[in-house]
């Protein structure tokens, strides 16, 4: 577990960071995933650009109709924020269920998005809550909807020269609620997701008018289960309606077997957790 040789810079501004970034570089935020991969020599960037000393990236801000989570906001801060809990409970819970105390105190919410691990928790929350990723580089700023951000296992829509400077989450309005639930690798909710789901729902006059449900842990990337949302909209959110909608959790997902579950089991879990997340989201309204 000794990395190959690499150079390291810790720029003090975004501009300096953009200048340093190139094809063979990696941004480092909390280092919780980057460092282990480098130690295993699975990632061997020539240059590590540590963004920890760039001012202004460590805040979680109320911007009126939305919230921004800066690139240096740790999982623990996302989990502890009342602002996130009341507006994006799915993301809040996902952050609280990420790793252990040490990981939550170092790892960043933006970092787990950029890392795009297929078994990560918070990406599902971001998908369900309709987050928008703000990617900046020397050539400007791109706003990438979460639904287009997760491309493949460990691959996001970011270019090598871009930094995910913040995430934008819409504030929730009347009749809206969200939730995240998972089965962890060590059983219960502990450790990476064997399967997990986040749901965001809007209900008015007794029926569901909008919904987003995302599943994680089961395939190559955290994915929006559009079929579930489609099936849910227009229903009254009754137990049977939710159950029926959750049946569509696998549409558009390639389920992969791993040490923690067969294809059959993971397929089953995706439905169970889609159902649980929707029910919890509905109950929270």
């Amino acid at each position: 577990m000794y990395p190959r040789k690499f150079d390291y810079v810790a720029p003090s501004s975004l501009d300096e960071a953009f200048e340093a970034l190139g094809d063979d570089s990696k941004v480092m935020a909390g280092g919780m995933s980057l460092i282990p991969l480098m130690k295993l020599r699975l990632f061997s960037p020539a240059l590590v650009v540590d963004i920890a000393r760039i001012p202004g990236l460590d805040t979680l801000d109320d911007k009126g109709d939305h919230i921004t989570i800066g690139a240096l906001v740790r999982h623990a801060e996302t989990a502890a924020s009342d602002l996130i809990r009341s507006n994006a409970a799915a993301l809040s819970t996902a952050a609280a269920l990420t790793g252990d105390v040490q990981v939550r105190n170092r790892g960043t919410t933006c970092g787990t998005m950029a890392h795009a691990d297929a078994v990560a928790d918070q990406p599902a929350g971001a998908l369900a809550c309709g987050a928008v990723m703000i990617a900046q580089s020397a050539s400007g700023t791109r706003e990438i909807p979460a639904s287009e951000f997760f491309v493949d296992s460990l691959t996001s829509a970011l270019n090598p020269d871009e930094i995910l400077t913040s995430i934008r989450i819409p504030k929730s309005g009347d009749g809206e609620g969200s939730a995240y639930d998972k089965l962890g690798r060590r059983g219960g909710r502990s450790d990476y997701a064997v399967a997990g789901a986040a749901a965001w729902v809007k209900r008015s006059n007794g029926s569901i008018t909008e919904a987003r449900v995302a599943v994680t842990g089961i395939g190559t990337k955290p994915t929006l289960a559009e079929g579930v949302a489609e099936a849910l909209i227009g229903t009254d959110g009754s137990a049977s309606a939710v159950e029926a909608a959750a049946e569509r959790a696998l549409e558009g997902v390639t389920v992969l077997e791993d040490l923690y579950g067969s294809e059959e089991y993971k397929s089953h879990l995706a439905k169970v957790y889609a159902k649980r997340a929707i029910n919890q989201a509905l109950a929270s309204i």
């Binding site: 000794y2 089965l183 060590r186 064997v194 089991y265």
Partner: protein, 791 residues
């Protein structure tokens, strides 16, 4: 004669301030001037011929001091092992590799990064051969792992035939006859006791230095057995034993994984001598997973036969035990430890056969419990299945078949006698503590609501405190490493001239708290406060003879020796005190740091005066030699046999198969306790590791021999957050095997736990008709069992 003011007290651990604050010294902390670092180039494949191995390019890499391959070290022979059945490990791969992670080349460089870079630059070509991984396939001998061996089955242990000299009766006919009885209930299950990776918090680490002027080695190693390592090095290099000094500084956990002499330790010594510089290697977590010994790895069928009303008539086990590719220290002997407790706490005939099978995987050897958790698992699982079959309470069934208190020492069919026990009282205490009846009511109520709640019970007896000298007759010894043939314990107690006490022991801690426990034994025996006692360990120069810490033996054997040495010192001190007080030695009592005549607290002499007098000939009695120390060796006549019973309460989520461990209650019996807090700590850790096996851990090789669980990312361990608060209590049944009446507690928790948890989950799934689920009880497996039961 001993006072009990300190013995039995939860004295806080004197080692903790350093360990908890990160101030302990471990091998990897040592940075002597000029130290070189090692990286191994290891096999990425399970089985292959090495068709070419070219280190020339790597040797040119920056910082590289040397790269060694088999030819360089062939003259040293293979790695020494105590039990030499099977193929011994070559120090570096000899033209072929036989498991993933086998060391092929050793790179020594100025720093670890350069060493790793150079290891990566070594050119090697393999002619890959299909490995033999599956135990049953290996046991069939359809293809052989090592051409030079007659069979993949290295050895077969049988209950009556493991030691010819004992002339034991083969009880198989009795068991078979019982099965033919009209009233016989026969229950049989094939079960796996999966392979585990011992994960010590401190990875193994070794640093060797050689001084050509003195012709001496000094080797620091994170080992449970410094004396064995010293013996192995002196033997390998043809040296006088005293010219090799091995030091085990702090050892951060071992669980048996450091109860081995490893090739890397010998190779570090070799390189240090060859290069004339200190050489250090610390394993990475990946290497710890692939190249430090594994444990368990059994598959077997257990069968019990009994009457309809719960009387056991016989027990049978046939299992295959995975030895891995090469035999190291005790590899093939590990199942033998299970054999001795094959019948558990029960009176019944036993037919027990374990085949030791070689495969293309990492070597297995002792891992916390070593053979005993496996043996007890099969027995206690099948008893549980039998109790279900006849519809009797599982504790009732056990109690009906326990050895009774008046039957001890209880001679078992394996030739050993259980020393002491009161098994039924132990169970009664547990049932009361856990409110067993209440738990069952709660379970039944939950069942009525359609919830899957289970109450699991389990008992165990273990064999520890190794050991009786006769074991040497069957190779259970350390003689191959130049140590005494029997497992003697030893202890040296010295009251210094300033009345402080130095204790030197031949066994050292890897977390167990020896420095505190031994201070209690000696301080209590002498009437000197424990904080004036210092315990030295882990340096072969300080203490020439010591076997090490393993098999829950330290207190019962080396502790007993230290206790006897304490009594000798005390006897001598009494003579001196009597001389100073002008009284008779037999009337002297020690109390509060001094001595006086029994019944009259004044006049008294303080230990300071006694110690001073002891070291100046003119003030000590004429017939007493100057000085105040004693060294004692202790050889127990029997092993010790701790026991206990546990209860687990679980709930299974029928939709996901997730198992939630709600309560865990245990009543253990390790005889007399010296420090109940330390005993608790040992049981806590043991239970956690038992839960680890039952629910989380699984070392998995795929059919190509790739270790799929080579990092902690894929080898989940239980953390405090995953466990309930354990509810513990004890019964106390002292042993007469040693003078302190102590039995040993290092492995008890692990031996008592795995089956208790599985029994609980099977109980939860009983309404569905599930009879067994193999460990680890990951949600996927439990869900699968539920699916299959529902059809």
């Amino acid at each position: 004669m001993a006072t009990t003011s300190v013995m039995g007290g939860s004295v806080r651990r004197r080692e903790d301030p350093a360990l908890i604050q990160g101030m302990g010294t471990y091998v990897d902390d040592l940075q002597p001037t000029g130290v070189l670092q090692v990286a191994f180039m290891r096999s990425p494949v399970a089985r292959a011929k090495i068709t070419s191995l070219d280190t020339s390019k790597a040797k040119e890499m920056p910082g590289v001091a040397a790269i060694y391959t088999h030819e360089d070290v062939a003259h040293l022979g293979p790695l020494l092992a105590q039990v030499q059945i099977g193929k011994l490990r070559p120090l570096l791969a000899d033209g072929e590799v036989n498991h993933m992670g086998e060391a092929i080349a050793m790179v020594v460089a100025e720093n670890r990064y350069q060493a790793q870079d150079a290891a990566e630059a070594i050119d090697v070509e393999f002619d890959v051969v299909k490995p033999i991984i599956d135990l049953k396939e290996a046991a069939s001998d359809a293809a052989k792992v090592h051409d030079e061996l007659d069979s993949n089955i290295l050895h077969t242990w049988t209950y009556h035939g493991y030691w010819d000299a004992l002339g034991l009766e083969d009880q198989t006919p009795q068991v078979d006859a019982a099965m033919e009885r009209d009233d016989a209930v026969v229950v049989s299950l094939e079960m796996k006791n999966q392979r585990l990776i011992p994960v010590a918090i401190e990875p193994r680490s070794v640093m060797a230095e050689y001084n050509p002027g003195y012709g001496r080695f000094t080797v620091h190693s994170s080992t449970q057995v410094p004396h064995a390592l010293g013996g192995a090095i002196s033997k390998t290099f043809g040296m006088i034993a005293s010219d090799v000094r091995v030091i085990a500084p702090e050892v951060g956990g071992g669980f048996g994984s450091k109860l081995n002499v490893y090739n890397d330790e010998i190779l570090a010594a070799f390189a240090a001598k060859d290069l004339g510089r200190p050489v250090k290697w610390t394993e990475t977590r990946r290497e710890a997973a692939s190249s430090t010994i594994h444990g368990r790895g059994w598959v077997g069928t257990a069968t019990i036969v009994g009457t309809k009303d719960g009387e056991f008539l016989g027990y049978k086990l046939h299992a295959l035990a995975d030895m891995g590719a090469y035999s190291q220290n005790f590899t093939v002997a590990i199942p033998l430890l299970g054999l001795w407790i094959a019948s558990g706490q029960y009176k019944m005939p036993v037919s027990w056969t374990v085949d030791c099978v070689v495969t293309n995987t990492m070597t297995t050897d002792a891992y916390r419990g070593a053979g005993r958790p496996e043996a007890i698992y099969y027995l206690e699982r099948i008893i549980d299945a039998y109790a279900r079959e006849i519809g009797m309470d599982p504790f009732e069934v056990r109690k009906k078949n326990f050895w009774q208190p008046d039957e001890f020492p209880a001679l078992m069919g394996c030739g050993f006698a259980l020393d002491s026990g009161d098994y039924a009282s132990n169970v009664d205490k547990l049932m009361e503590k856990a409110d067993y009846a209440g738990l069952l009511r709660m379970r039944d109520q939950a069942r009525d609501e359609g919830r899957l709640v289970g109450v699991g019970v389990g008992s165990y007896v273990e064999v520890c405190g190794f050991g009786p000298a006769v074991l040497a007759e069957i190779g259970f010894s350390w003689s191959e490493y130049g140590l005494p043939a029997s497992f003697n314990g030893s202890g040296l107690v010295r009251v210094n001239p300033d009345a402080t006490v130095t204790v030197v022991i031949g066994t050292g801690p890897s977390g167990q708290g020896h420095e505190t426990t031994w201070a209690q034994i000696v301080g209590d025996g002498l009437g000197i406060p424990v904080d004036k006692v210092r315990v030295l360990h882990g340096d072969t120069r300080e203490h020439p003879m010591g076997i090490g810490t393993f098999g829950s033996r330290s207190v019962a054997v080396d502790g007993a020796a230290t206790y006897e040495a304490t009594l000798k010192v005390r006897e001598k001190a009494a003579k001196i005190a009597a001389h100073l007080l002008e009284a008779s030695a037999t009337d002297i009592v020690f109390e509060n740091g001094g001595a006086h005549v029994a019944g009259s607290p004044a006049p008294r002499v303080e230990w300071e005066a006694i110690a001073k007098a002891a070291y100046q000939a003119h003030t000590s009695p004429e017939d007493v030699e100057s000085g105040l120390e004693a060294h004692t060796s202790f050889s127990p006549g029997n092993a010790t046999w701790p026991f206990g019973s546990h209860i687990a309460l679980v709930e299974v989520d029928p939709d996901t198969g997730n198992v939630e461990l709600l309560r865990y209650v245990g009543v253990d019996d390790c005889g007399n306790e010296i420090n109940p807090m330390i005993v608790n700590g040992q049981i806590h850790g043991g239970i956690a590791q038992g839960v680890g096996q039952a629910m989380f851990e699984d070392a998995v090789y795929d059919s190509d021999g790739n270790l799929l669980t080579g990092s902690l990312l894929d080898y989940p361990l239980p953390t405090a957050a995953d466990l309930p608060s354990f509810e513990l209590d004890r019964t106390v049944t002292p042993t007469d095997v040693n003078p302190m009446g102590v039995k040993g507690v290092g492995e008890a928790g692990t031996i008592g736990t795995a089956h208790t948890i599985v029994n609980a989950v099977v109980d939860a799934l009983e309404p569905l008709g599930v009879k067994h689920v193999d460990m680890p009880l990951r949600p996927k497996r439990v869900w699968q069992a539920i699916q299959e039961a529902r059809g």
